[in-house]
């Protein structure tokens, strides 16, 4: 059985066969793919798989070819492609019922909800991340956690952390590592570290790939569902990962989030966290800090920066952040 690359853009008949095979397997053909492979038996496409960045997706084997272990062949071909393009990790989003097939191929389960399982392979892996957390762990009776993107770090973030410090003896601030924001990962991390340098009971950590990882939306197996339903599923997975893989390592007992009156997705995220944590971890939703009766948010700060309204920026962010923002914009 030879694995060959499918050039969907150049070969309409291959594309049609690919779409048919996916639909037969209950998957939605999704244009968000970088690389697609397939296996043919005579002229029939009997197995396929794709990657998008380092996510393995849209893997399907025809019913008539189920006993030839083509999944292994497809997965190996995709893994070799990923390693040859420089990736050392791969992720699979799949239905929980098929997760065992991927586990048999050397993937490790990271989190599972009722509808989705997330698996990974490669290094650094979740175990390595947990080891990193363990090394930064502080002895605590009541540890709290705040997860933030800090794009940029504002007085609102500082207020959230300081409020958490009132009821917790240690607060872990997890800064989103995914590099998809106005300010890059290193800059955001520096803003948080400097903005909280005076708080000795705060530990600042990155989230790596394991929390609010803003990679592609793994919606392909969730067909016929509205976007918000997809978002809810992803939020549930994220909350599950936090609850089962991160909170226990750091002995976190309480997570603090800011109320988000303007974003339905964030509201949904808070909702799903509350449902997932249900009694096992306390979720505290704090009202946003207001300055001049307007809520402080990173979005308003970015708007002020764009408008060149520095007095407004200064009113919303700590001096450390202002300095970093000025140096970033000065460099440009």
């Amino acid at each position: 059985m030879r694995v060959q690359r499918l050039w969907l853009e150049l070969n309409p008949s291959a594309k049609a066969a690919w779409q048919t095979l996916l639909r037969q397997s209950g998957l939605v053909p999704d244009a968000q793919v970088d690389y697609v492979v397939g296996i043919y038996e005579q002229e029939y496409l009997i197995a396929t798989g794709s990657t998008y960045q380092n996510i393995i997706k849209l893997v399907a084997v025809a019913d008539t070819a189920q006993h030839q272990n083509l999944l292994a062949t497809i997965t190996t071909a995709l893994w070799e492609r990923l390693t040859s393009t420089g990736y050392e990790q791969a992720y699979v989003y799949t239905k929980p019922c098929t997760a065992t097939y991927f586990q048999a191929l050397g993937f490790k389960n990271i989190a599972t909800t009722a509808h989705v399982a997330l698996l990974e392979r490669g290094y650094p892996d979740l175990a390595a991340y947990q080891e990193k957390l363990r090394q930064k762990k502080q002895p605590s009776h009541q540890a709290g956690a705040v997860v933030m993107n800090a794009n940029p770090f504002t007085n609102g973030h500082r207020y959230l952390v300081q409020t958490a410090l009132k009821s917790c003896d240690v607060v872990y601030v997890l800064v989103v590592s995914e590099d998809r924001s106005t300010f890059d990962t290193a800059t955001r991390l520096a803003m948080v570290q400097q903005g909280l340098a005076d708080e000795s009971r705060v530990v600042v950590l990155p989230t790596d790939h394991y929390l609010v990882a803003n990679t592609t939306f793994p919606s392909y197996f969730l067909k016929d569902q509205a976007d918000l339903a997809v978002a809810a599923e992803q939020a549930r997975l994220d909350a599950q990962l936090f609850l089962t893989r991160i909170a226990p390592v750091l002995a976190i007992k309480q997570r603090f989030v800011g109320e988000e009156p303007n974003s339905p997705v964030t509201a949904l995220y808070n909702q799903q966290m509350a449902a997932t944590f249900a009694g096992r971890l306390q979720l505290t939703v704090l009202p946003r800090l207001r300055v001049d009766s307007r809520v402080v948010s990173a979005t308003t700060v970015r708007q002020a920066i764009r408008a060149g309204d520095w007095p407004r920026v200064r009113a919303l962010v700590p001096p450390t952040t202002e300095q970093i923002i000025r140096s970033v914009y000065h460099d440009k």
Partner: protein, 101 residues
């Protein structure tokens, strides 16, 4: 050549074994996944550990996904993964062959 963080050799095809080496704090730690773990688990783990010791690799976590590989395959995949981890490709065949004596 620099040391890589992790290295893989082999596939998950039938009769093969996929060996992945990752950093470990201390010692050789083998995590084996195999359909014949009950029958040959200890043997496979001992074989992999032995090969790595012969290659002077001391702190490593091994993830082995076995699909019914024979000893010669297990040996070959382990050696290949170990050389890839060290970024070397000049196999010391004489030394390796002498293990069979």
């Amino acid at each position: 050549m620099t040391n890589k963080q992790s290295a893989t050799a082999g596939t998950t095809e039938s009769s093969d074994i996929m060996i992945t080496l990752k950093p470990n704090q201390q010692g050789i730690q083998v995590e084996l996944e195999s359909n014949v773990k009950k029958q040959f688990g200890e043997h496979i783990t001992a074989l992999i550990t032995d090969i790595l010791q012969r290659l002077a690799i001391t702190n490593v976590k091994v993830e082995a996904v076995d699909k019914g590989a024979l000893d010669c395959t297990i040996k070959a995949r382990t050696i290949a993964a170990a050389y890839r981890l060290r970024g070397e490709s000049d196999y010391e065949w004489e030394a390796i062959n002498s293990w069979n004596d």
